[in-house]
Symmetry: C2
């Protein structure tokens, strides 16, 4: 039977879940997987936390050097999070020829290329299933299930915190602030929620997922990012009436005009399979040129779901001798660089607060027409006294055209304010 020794760096929520699965299921994995996996040591400053998990004091390493020089350790699991000291630790592990399994999306989105170069030098494995969408096996699917396909698009709800907040706003009519507070109370959002609500977390994941999907390294700088902090519950309610659900989507497309990657609040049709992905659930929708549409759905976070992804990588690494290395077409010298689409095309939902008097709708729709911005649907609803709300859904148009038109609208006397501008995806 194959044997593998594991070291866990960091015993936070995910580290604890990973330790629990690996130890409680040691016999189960011997039986079902034919591999004998032992947690040889952990690296954790908080020794009490280690002891409380049932780890012997002698198995708590005092330094990364102690971990990587341990000949019984084959696989190093990094679940510290953030760039440092994780990067230094992972690099040392790879330089020592250890295979690394990580859940660290920020580290991976920022330093994948360097880390993979180190791994390749020593023929070590570098696994990162847990970095994206928790327990959902989306990385394995892209690497080992979709090989026959050129992936044309990827569209996902890849951040559970924001999905929880938006679901609460939609179902209960809560404001963003109220929903965020509830998410914090339940532990779905952190005390400082910036990484989630401003879309950084989703950007890291989209960078990793779209790189794999399109076989091109897509850096976080290439991803357009917009969070949910400015989302108004009014827009969610109006969208609902019109048959749309608001989600923070990560969207990637690989077309003849170039690659387009963006994270922003998006209206999707209620009939879209992603529309019924609620609360802290995540889902990723792919279109492949052979397979057509595929969707994966599940828990994007949590001790055991993320632990499930890490342990899956540990077992894969222990069983298979050949590791996955990327072969991104834009990573090689002399290859033409990837073209990114900045001015992307989308449908738009635009809500205006206007003067409630005759001729205003005609004037505004005239302004849209003059700017070649084609309207698919328009609604006027009563507002407060002397004010009305006009909601316009455009046909597909370029981002720049919308911006130009919005500027004109802002200087139109009858327009009090542009209240909401939300992209839509079919």
């Amino acid at each position: 039977m194959k044997k593998a020794g594991v070291a866990i760096l960091g015993l936070g929520v995910v580290g604890g879940g990973t330790y629990q699965i690996l130890t409680e299921k040691k016999e189960y994995f011997k039986k079902t997987q034919g591999v004998d996996i032992t947690v040889e040591c952990v690296l954790e400053k908080n020794v009490d936390r280690a002891l409380s998990l049932g780890i012997e004091r002698s198995a708590v390493a005092s330094s990364i050097e102690e971990v990587v020089s341990n000949p019984n350790v084959d696989i190093v699991v990094e679940v510290i999070g953030g760039v440092e000291p994780a990067k230094t630790f992972v690099t040392k592990a790879l330089k020592s020829g250890k295979t690394v399994v990580t859940s660290n999306k920020e580290l991976f989105a920022k330093h994948w290329t360097e880390l993979e170069a180190e791994a390749k030098k020593m023929n070590a494995g570098l696994f990162f299933e847990a970095s994206c969408v928790g327990g959902v096996p989306i990385i394995r699917t892209l690497q080992e299930g979709m090989q026959a396909n050129k992936i044309l698009s990827i569209k996902g709800i890849i951040n559970g915190t924001t999905n929880y907040i938006l679901t609460k706003m939609a179902n209960e009519g809560s404001s963003y602030e109220e929903a965020l507070k509830e998410a914090q109370r339940l532990g779905y959002a952190e005390f400082n929620p910036t990484a989630d609500v401003e879309g950084f977390d989703a950007t890291y994941k989209l960078s990793i997922l779209s790189s794999l999907a399109f076989n091109k390294k897509i850096c976080i700088e290439n991803v357009y990012r917009e969070g949910i902090t400015a989302v108004d519950k009014e827009d969610i309610a109006y969208g609902k009436e019109m048959g749309y659900t608001l989600k923070l989507l990560g969207i990637g497309k690989d077309t003849e005009s170039g690659v387009e990657v963006r994270v922003h609040p998006t209206f999707i049709k209620n009939s879209d399979p992603l529309a019924s992905v609620n609360d802290s659930f995540n889902a990723v929708h792919l279109v492949g040129d052979a397979v057509g549409e595929i969707m994966l759905y599940g828990r994007g976070a949590g001790a055991l779901p993320t632990g499930s992804a890490i342990v899956s990588d540990v077992i894969f690494a222990a069983k298979h001798d050949r590791y996955f290395y990327t072969n991104f077409e834009n990573n090689k010298k002399g290859n033409k660089q990837t073209k990114f689409v900045g001015d992307f095309t989308s449908k738009y939902y635009i809500r205006l607060s206007v003067a409630d008097k005759a001729g205003v709708l005609a004037k505004i729709s005239g302004l849209f027409a003059k700017n070649n911005l084609s309207i698919q649907e328009v609604r006027q609803v009563a507002g407060s006294e002397g004010e009305a709300q006009i909601i316009i859904v455009t046909h597909l148009c370029s981002e720049s055209l919308v911006k130009k038109t919005l500027e004109k609208l802002k200087t139109t006397a009858e327009v009090f304010a542009v209240k909401g501008t939300i992209r839509m995806e079919d």
Copy 2:
């Protein structure tokens, strides 16, 4: 670069799709996967079909012996379907040490154990991603993505033909016969639709999927099977009003009382993620003890989706040296055998045609109470003259209890007929 030679047995729809992907993407796979795959030969009686796909006459083998004795062939793709001659061909390929990739659910459900024994002897691979749910990578997910989990349940829409028919009945109020005809016209159902509409196809797939999920060999004889030919559009309509969608589900559960595997029409709540899986789409929902809920969704059939699954297996086989063999706990001598639950527990939807007169509802609910069959919801609707319809939703109860009560109902004077009995799943 790793090289692999492929032979394709059978050039039907799926064989054609597989050939197309392997040849059109040869260079793409060299670049993205680092493997050079060549279709060395095909076995197909209809030589014209082979020529029409662009295959040279010299590459059309005249016998299975010619295929398996070809030293350039490493991987044999079997897409003939049915038990014979597929079984003979696959066995010969395995005995010659060739790795086999198959889409043949019937062969696999019936002869997996023997085929795997042959594969193991020669250290050959045996891949079957395409046998279940077309392009959806459910086998790879169970084998290489869910290893950390004990799978507690599996629930799936695993037959596209019946899902197309039931969707049409629900959306357009068609009868079963009308919807079947339309499915046949569109090529979703075969001229002889028995394998699909009577649930045999779903039974093969559930047998394979639940064996992998629960790590126990589950034979087709262990699967309770009921097709959709008796489904009445009235029941679909009543269910809809009550918030339920009717699907042909494959259900597997591994509990302390034993293993329960069944294929039958099932009402699920409209909010269930499976309820919005429509037309010929398929989906599989798993619950793992670590990962929680996971769902995979996509196309269950078709030349390119199924071809995508086959080519994924071919590439996996070409890249990895270690193959997957099962280690079913009930396959070994001396191991205790798996206990199957025959009298399973479910909620039931029961529709009765009764005499429209005072006291009938009281009499029927009294009969339920006397049989300890607990009612969750009851509705009475007007029927034709002198007749009323009573719809009863039970709480969870045993199959045998329902059968016993139904027998009593049938001999009750005021009950004209038991019109519909449909299991429900939460």
